[in-house]
Symmetry: C2
């Protein structure tokens, strides 16, 4: 099957946008992606819109249609997608599938979210879920993973804190990141405790923001202004709820990463950078291992030794990641694609990974019963 | 591209299910569809789940994963879809596209909704939309269409009431319909006025319920127990918000129906039955015209003359439609597929359309600025 191309990207700075609506944020990102690709809205043949919490917070629905209407995209199929923290990456997955199958020559993916309102509360895997009702909101579930990883592999709180320190250092060079002031290991560990051992600086912040990516066929991409970035593989998977879970070894994460490598015909040794779902510091450590960047159990050491830093062996989250760029849920998965594309084009400015040729974007969403509800991996090449 | 097959269907009776959750309803429908097809859950390679209001009402997310888990479907890609009243039909559209493209051999579509709770309120196109804030909730928007149709085409309130009478008569033979007691034109017109000229019996009732359909490739369908029903075309489209709208002539509805006929290589004269989106009596009249069942402006006369009744020229909503089966939003689009499949298999019991060979399912969702946010048409053949 022919591989889709990402031909345009756009992102609205993540942070607090008190005066703007979800539609307004999404439409700006969509406009930026169209402008980046240099195409008229009439050429877009399908739209995939991601949002996770606007229905709950604002009573809104079918938001994608409003977003696309704002930028002059009419009549085409529009799908609104929710898949927890993988909402944006699932929309990207669907767009790539539609283009790969010849169902659309050009598909626009937009993710937008507005969370910085008093009603938001704690993020969880669904309020009716037993997990949530028993108190297993997201920070609690990841704290269990952290405790288990510390017990099994000797991972230290200082190593976990290094993830936050590194990602904040990266974010200093990213104008769309929410938090850009450097932090130290001491500051991370001294921050208020949320769920032991995760302090506040080890939990990603909620945010308002939006991101967009234009996916098109090789033929359609030929006359566009930007260098083509190819989608080598994009995989979506769900947890295996029937098998007992090992909290320190995330089976779904390993499985989906392995599928993506197989589809792309590439391995971790081919990657020049990774954007991964560092919702919590321990998450990024688990993802190193699932992605094969280091051996199982060695994630703590991997970050502490600087391998995941800009200038290190394989920079992870050069954008600052969720921990520093912020996490407007529906937008995050698309923002990862934007960062990977900018890196592969050599347009990432002071945070550019030199000679970046292959990049990977990874999301996971909704911890439940010790496993994840959704996981996505996309591998892109220059 | 090869045409997908619907190989299994299931539906949970629409009505009030006070003691059951959205997951519980969805899982029962999923189980029934798998059982109907006679396959083990392990054979399902992708899941598409539709729901419209559970996030707003219950704070739930990524519900599809929970539903599939309940019936033993693990690991596969799962996408949660929201597209207002076309949520279920959009999930079906995505499943058909995935199977047609060879991205899955078998995909399960589930739509489930729970609305009969005091918090539900009035349905609208999104609470932040100007339309809603200015009072254009769904019944108001359709009342405008009715007034315009009456003015332009001389359609009468009695003709509109006939839609409700007919669909209630059909529902008498459908054990999964919410309301099965016959009503008369007089009763429909004497019911409490909601928005002039639409009385309560001309507005579809909210409901709890779920429906599921198993979509698979021709190859995968070969060894299954049920007669194959082929998806000749499935189309999703959005409004054209840039053009001024004629309330009595629904451009999006006409356009999407025409696309579906073209894709299927079939026309209205080939249809043996239609399930259409009779959210209000006037809606069904508009859909007759868009579907080419009668000339533009003649929808009122078409129903009054009995052409849309069981035994008539082209039975519309033999299931009872939204008006009598009930409208659990996320489930409706899938329930239409279930009805069409049952009819095409000759398994519709006392409401069977004799010799049914081709059926059409039509949904529309989210009226906004005089146009619809989403419209779907699927054409199936025995």
């Amino acid at each position: 099957m022919p591989k889709p191309i990402v031909a345009g990207v756009g992102v609205v700075p993540f942070g607090k946008h008190q005066q703007r609506s979800v539609v307004d944020l999404g439409a700006e990102a969509a406009y930026l992606a169209l402008k980046d690709a240099g195409i008229a809205p009439e050429r877009v043949e399908a739209g995939f819109f991601a949002n996770a919490v606007a229905s709950r917070l604002f009573g809104d629905s079918t938001i994608g249609q409003n977003v696309l209407w704002e930028v002059g995209i009419n009549r085409v199929p529009v799908v609104n997608v929710e898949n927890a923290c993988t909402s944006g990456s699932t929309a990207f997955y669907l767009a790539c599938n539609a283009v790969a199958a010849g169902q659309a020559e050009m598909a626009l993916v937009v993710g937008a979210e507005k969370m910085c309102v008093p009603e938001f509360g704690l993020i969880n895997s669904g309020e009716s879920d037993w997990d949530t009702q028993l108190g297993l909101v997201a920070p609690a579930s990841f704290a269990l993973r952290a405790q288990r990883h510390m017990l099994e592999h000797g991972t230290t709180v200082e190593q976990m804190a290094q993830v936050a320190v590194k990602n904040r250092a990266h974010a200093a060079h990213n104008p769309v990141a929410m938090f850009r002031e450097p932090v130290t290991v001491e500051q991370v560990l001294a921050a208020p405790m949320i769920v032991d051992p995760l302090t506040r600086l080890q939990c990603c912040p909620i945010a308002d923001g939006a991101a967009a990516a234009l996916v098109c066929s090789e033929t359609a991409a030929r006359d566009l202004r930007q260098a083509a970035v190819k989608v080598e593989a994009v995989v979506l998977g769900t947890g295996d709820y029937q098998s007992p879970q090992d909290l320190a070894h995330w089976e779904t994460d390993f499985r989906v990463c392995a599928q993506a490598y197989e589809k792309a015909g590439l391995g971790p040794e081919d990657l020049d950078l990774v954007e991964c779902h560092d919702a919590f510091t321990i998450s990024e450590i688990l993802h190193y291992e699932a992605l094969g960047l280091c051996a199982s159990g060695q994630g703590g050491r991997f970050v502490a030794e600087g391998h995941a830093s800009l200038g290190g062996r394989i920079p992870v989250n050069p954008s600052g990641g969720l921990l520093s760029r912020g996490h407007p849920v529906g937008a995050t998965g698309v923002a990862q694609i934007v960062e990977v594309v900018n890196q592969l084009r050599g347009q990432a400015g002071p945070r550019q990974v030199q000679g970046a040729g292959v990049g990977l974007a990874h999301c996971m969403g909704g911890d439940k019963a010790g496993d994840t509800k959704s996981c996505t991996v996309a591998i892109l090449s220059a």
